[in-house]
């Protein structure tokens, strides 16, 4: 099973969903965007920014919103603005039109108020949905698939079962020509030698070591302590983790054993398939990294969670994997895959192959729990120190 059925986009990418997106360009338009999505099958993206921001932050907001619209899983977009905000809805409209994606624009100040804006938004969303249903899925190779790998809400099974099974899946995606994105780089220190040893060439090895050295130096500058001085934490040790390498490897396992092709920055696309590191260092909620994957054009993310996180994404299904057999039962309403079978004695590679098949099924259209629960989070990663 080295192919999937998806929707061809004009930029060459392939979507696995036909989401209709309602994007608020400024906090003042959030309510209208939410109401439109509530009354239709569209998904809304809202945020507390879009105006009165310093340039760097404003650019990040705009990048986050544009990349959401650009994600191949999005069929069409409705932009909702107020009319006087810093983020230029007209500019965004032109950009999306330029990539040949259906797009509409509603400015509340021009429509005569929220009620009129909502009515117009509903009309546009229904129109886009009707058009999107006519689209046919075609068959594509796994080389068109970009899969994010992440963990959060962890317990002792996450590193051992959830992440080892994800690692086995990563190897299969990459061996079949696909792309895997790994981030959570703040968890790299302690295993940078392992990651660098898998670099595809010297330059990539140097880039990985430089990135982690910078991270380590930042910690010392900010906190006056090395990462080794505070890790593993007393809680880690009580849970059975003896050393920092051991702790860090639990994170790194998601990368499987394939070569690392390079590092990309937030908002970048991968130059070619393979395993890539997305340098998202923003310290914050899990949805920072998930959103950064979506911004890179990932169509799907494999997310392991021992304790159970309901996280989803506005433009990308999350396949929720738990390494804890008890959590798989107690939180079945948010779980897609039971990697806890490894804890009960099943082989990691065999369960990993089943996860690979699950990813293909979801790419073909099988609905995930995060979609069924309507967990459509979108949190633009930024420095919140």
């Amino acid at each position: 099973m080295h192919s999937f059925d998806g929707y061809q986009r004009s930029d060459g990418s392939v979507g696995i969903r036909n989401y209709i997106l309602v994007v608020s360009t400024v906090q003042c338009a959030n309510n209208v965007a939410i109401r439109i999505a509530e009354k239709t099958n569209a998904v809304s993206i809202t945020h507390d920014f879009g105006c009165m921001e310093f340039e760097e932050n404003s650019n990040r907001t705009e990048l986050g919103l544009i990349k959401a619209c650009e994600n191949p899983n999005v069929y069409g977009v409705i932009l909702v603005g107020l009319g006087c905000e810093q983020i230029d809805a007209n500019k965004m409209y032109d950009y999306i039109k330029g990539i040949n994606k259906p797009v509409y624009k509603i400015l509340i100040q021009e429509e005569g108020g929220p009620k009129q804006a909502i009515a117009k938004g509903i009309e546009y969303a229904n129109k886009l949905e009707k058009e999107s249903i006519k689209e046919q899925r075609g068959t594509f190779g796994v080389d068109k698939l970009i899969v994010g790998v992440q963990c959060g809400g962890s317990d002792w099974t996450t590193a051992l079962a959830g992440n080892t099974v994800i690692g086995a899946m990563t190897d299969l995606i990459v061996k079949n020509g696909g792309t895997v994105l790994m981030s959570e780089v703040v968890g790299f220190p302690g295993s940078e030698h392992v990651v660098a040893s898998r670099a595809v060439n010297k330059e990539v090895g140097i880039a990985i070591l430089d990135m982690v050295t910078e991270l380590r130096e930042d910690y010392i500058k900010q906190y006056g302590q090395t990462i080794e001085e505070v890790n593993p934490t007393p809680g880690n040790k009580a849970g059975g983790i003896t050393t920092l390498v051991e702790k860090s490897m639990g994170n790194i396992k998601k990368m499987g054993s394939v070569p690392v092709q390079g590092i990309i920055q937030v908002g970048d696309k991968v130059p070619h398939p393979g395993l890539w590191v997305l340098d998202c260092r923003a310290q914050g909620p899990d949805s920072f990294v998930t959103t950064a994957f979506a911004m890179a054009g990932a169509q799907i993310t494999a997310f392991s969670t021992g304790r159970g996180s309901p996280l989803g994404n506005a433009v990308m299904p999350l396949v929720k994997i738990t390494g804890n057999p008890k959590t798989y039962k107690s939180l079945n309403g948010i779980m897609d895959f039971n990697a806890g079978r490894v804890i009960l004695g099943e082989n990691i590679d065999i369960v990993g192959e089943e996860l690979y098949k699950k990813i293909i099924e979801v790419a073909n259209g099988a609905i995930t729990k995060s979609e069924d629960n309507m967990n459509f989070d979108y949190t633009i990663p930024r420095d919140i120190r």
Binding site: G205, I206, E228, L244, V245, L344
Partner: protein, 104 residues
Amino acid sequence: MKTVLLVDLLDNVAVATLTIQNGEKIKVGDEIIVANQEIPIGHKVAIKDINKNEYVYKYGVPIGVSNTEIQRGDYVHTHNVIDVTEDLCKGYIDDFMKGVAENA
């Protein structure tokens, strides 16, 4: 009899998926070993003898160095393993950069 999770075939420790009592038998692949102490859930047990100053392997990589003779079946944690993360990372970086300089 308890089973343990062996993550990588290179590893000389495995992880208890249920708390193992002192003296209890443990199945590792086709082999049976006996726990020499209690191994709490999520913690490590040696599945091979590990000499003093030898690497302890988990996830297929060295995670530390033993500070004593570790017997097969022993509980493996901070009391008998030294954290050498800094040496592993710095050692690798130094060798790597030397290699880069020599090939330049």
